[in-house]
């Protein structure tokens, strides 16, 4: 360790960290009487604790490592008696005849379909790699494309249950049966196997036959040949009919592509049975009615009012303007069971108006360019105010949408009957349309600023409102939108406020703007 106490009289953070593992007497003595170092140490410990929490949250749904039995099998192979060749290789003389025979054997081994160089195996690995990347990209993009419902069939009939032991044996996750990584794991566990690749109209199927006598005879994974999306997985247990699992996220997608085994049946998946319909319950009706009141008054956006759960029941928040509050309260009286929350919790107020500091901005080269663009400094300042104001409006809209979608997650909406679902969707659609309109305005304003810095031409007029297909708006997409929006505003504030390195800041802002634009365009297009 370096000197325990620096010339400042305090230990460095690194020394404090080291002290936790290898206690040092001078540091211990110092800590006993130094509040600031105690606080620094507490911060370091809290940081490590946060890190552990982050790690646990991120890996909670990660697949477990392979069972120890797989390792033990490999260790047994290692300790198996040596082959004839290894035992006798020193005795074998390397004669030309043996060399020729060995060369011929190598050629057979290399070009035989089951030999060392097996193009089918290479292609199989490639298919699995593409499929895995596709799934990971879909999840990383947090789009709603990941299928949520699955159908399992055997001999043309829907299976109601599937034995847990069989699922484990075939490496099938009942919540994600088409996962290509799971298939890859199962396949890699088969020591003797033969792959076959079949191509159809729009699909590719990898079939893996297990050689020898095992519980599973064969399995297959069918993927979309255009984007590698997994479509169908099958497993064939010895002495039974083949079991097929397919996703049914988009109507008749599989059948249209002609994947064999596809079914148009709309029955629910036995893996994930639908929840009982909820619409009949008075509580659900009341919740929707309460949201409708908040939305009609604009309280969900302008006051960020929402429903909350308090003491086991649902209540509505009221912390808007007095006139509006009375209007909402009167409307709520007509709803059975509606009651205001006893304590309206104010959400974490973020820094909506990030200061684009005049003092700093005056020295900012970007502001000078902006002033040149607008003709004078007042107009440039007015422009910055407009951007900030539009950001606040948009942030309120996106937050309202995000809160609402969290209240009615897809799993819950799916359990509602048609008319009730339409009522839920109506508010989401209205919010999404407002988000699109405001976002286009915000993007246009930001684009003007970038144009002033000659980063790109001024943007075209804003696009139209969101499409009516609100089903594609998910919690994830609204959350991502929120993050992208905050990122863009941070970049914008940095660009015009801090006087940071101009070129890179312009580039970052332009890139973040494009990301938000892309996200807005994708909000409801499917």
């Amino acid at each position: 360790m370096s000197e325990p106490l620096h010339p400042s009289g305090h230990p460095a953070p690194a020394d404090l960290l080291l002290h936790l593992e290898e206690p040092s007497e001078p540091i211990r003595n110092h800590l006993a009487g130094c509040v600031s170092c105690q606080s620094l140490l507490a911060d370091l410990l809290a940081g490590e604790s946060n890190l552990a929490e982050w790690r646990d949250a991120l890996t909670a749904q990660a697949p477990p490592p392979p069972p120890v039995a797989a390792l033990q099998a490999r260790m047994r192979t290692e300790t198996a008696p040596l082959s004839w060749w290894r035992r006798n290789r020193s005795a074998v003389r390397w004669t030309p005849a043996i060399a020729l025979a060995a060369a011929a054997a190598c050629l057979v081994l290399i070009f035989n379909p089951n030999g060392i160089w097996n193009p089918v195996a290479v292609e199989a690995a490639e298919i699995l790699r593409h499929a895995s990347e596709q799934v990971h990209q879909t999840r990383a993009a947090k789009t709603a494309a990941a299928p949520r419902r699955y159908r399992i069939r055997q001999a043309g009939r829907d299976l109601q249950t599937l034995d847990e032991g069989k699922l484990q044996l075939a490496r099938i996750d009942r919540h994600d049966p088409l996962n290509p990584d799971d298939y890859a794991r199962w396949r890699s566990e088969q020591t003797e196997k033969q792959d076959t690749i079949t191509r159809g109209n729009g699909w590719v199927r990898l079939s893996t036959a297990v050689l020898g006598s095992h519980d599973i005879e064969s399995a297959s994974l069918t993927v979309d040949s255009r984007d590698w999306r997994p479509l169908l997985r099958s497993v064939h247990f010895r002495g039974e009919d083949e079991i097929q699992m397919e996703a049914a996220p988009v109507e008749a997608e599989i059948s249209r592509q002609g994947a064999p085994g596809g079914s148009r049946s709309e029955e629910a998946s036995p893996l994930k049975p639908p929840a009982p319909l909820e619409a009949a319950t008075p509580a659900a009706n009341s919740e929707i009615a309460m949201w409708e009141v908040l939305h009609a008054a604009g309280a969900d956006i302008h006051s960020a009012a929402q429903l909350r759960r308090q003491d086991g029941s649902v209540c509505y928040e009221l912390w808007s303007e007095p006139g509006e509050r009375d209007k909402v309260a009167r409307a709520m009286q007509a709803i059975p069971g509606a009651k205001p929350c006893s304590q309206s919790k104010s959400p974490e107020r973020e820094k909506l108006l990030e200061p684009i500091s005049a003092g700093t901005a005056a020295e900012s080269p970007s502001l000078a360019l902006l002033t040149a663009r607008f003709g004078d400094k007042d107009r440039a300042s007015q422009y910055l105010d407009d951007v900030t104001r539009q950001y606040v409006v948009l942030l309120a809209q996106v937050t309202a949408l995000d809160r609402y979608l969290r209240w009615f997650p897809p799993s819950r909406v799916d359990a509602l009957d048609g008319p009730t679902r339409q009522r839920v969707a109506a508010i989401a659609l209205s919010d999404a349309e407002a988000v699109t309109t405001e976002a286009n305005q915000y993007l246009r304003l930001v684009g003007e600023g970038l144009a002033a810095l000659a980063a790109r031409p001024a943007p075209a007029s804003p696009g139209g409102p969101a499409s009516s297909a609100v089903r594609c708006t998910s919690i994830e997409s609204a959350s991502s939108l929120l993050e992208d929006l905050r990122s863009l505003h941070r970049e914008f504030v940095t660009l015009f406020g801090s006087g940071s390195e101009l070129a890179s800041s312009v580039e970052r802002t332009a890139r973040t703007r494009d990301a938000l634009e892309h996200r807005i365009a994708a909000l409801c297009v499917k």
């Binding site: 290898e22 370091l44 946060n50 890190l51 120890v68 390792l71 794991r185 919790k345």
Partner: protein, 188 residues
């Protein structure tokens, strides 16, 4: 089970005799203790699940071979992490001619959040906090990222230093800077 203290890291005389008598059982025991942690480490540093499975088994198999050949492995977990890194680097070189663990957070880890059972508002705040931490992790240098993850898997500063051939002071400084940076970015 993932208790790093269940098996001492330094092979005592008693453990050495266990290794001599039954190396496969010793390695299987080590696997039971460390597999979860090491598997998680691989996933968090960007390996895909199927690759993580293979690398994990390969590393333990390599340990088994070393023990059978009479090599002394003083700190199995540290040894395993180093071996995993080497195996992964070799594989990446074979596959694409280069390796870069640096990249954005999504490349480093393709896992998704799972939030505890909370109310919608709490879940949102929790999610946002972890998301900020995720982004902050993405802003660390490769070395900082590696060191703090190793520490979160229970390795001491001295073990990390020995593994990377640097001084313990250098590791402590890197970790302290990383933790301070994470704290700053998380609370921004």
């Amino acid at each position: 089970m993932d208790d790093s203290t269940a098996i001492p890291l330094v092979l005592s005389g008693e453990i050495s005799s266990r290794v001599e008598q039954s190396p496969d059982q010793f390695v299987a025991d080590l696997y039971a203790v460390h597999a979860n942690s090491l598997h998680r480490y691989l996933l968090l540093t960007g390996s895909r699940p199927a690759d993580a499975d293979e690398l994990l088994q390969d590393a333990f198999l390599r340990l088994f071979r070393c023990l059978r050949e009479g090599e002394q492995v003083e700190k199995p977990k540290a040894w395993l992490i180093r071996t995993l890194q080497n195996l992964r680097t070799d594989r990446a070189r074979r596959e694409s001619g280069h390796i870069s663990l640096l990249g954005n957070v999504v490349q480093r880890s393709q896992l998704a959040w799972t939030t505890r059972a909370l109310s919608p508002e709490e879940a949102m705040l929790d999610h946002e906090r972890l998301d900020r931490l995720q982004r902050a992790m993405g802003s660390l240098t490769e070395r900082q990222h590696q060191y703090v993850l190793m520490r979160s898997e229970g390795m001491t500063l001295r073990e990390i230093a020995a593994m990377h051939g640097v001084t313990v002071q250098s590791v402590a400084e890197t970790c302290a800077r990383a933790i301070e940076r994470l704290g700053k970015l998380t609370h921004e």
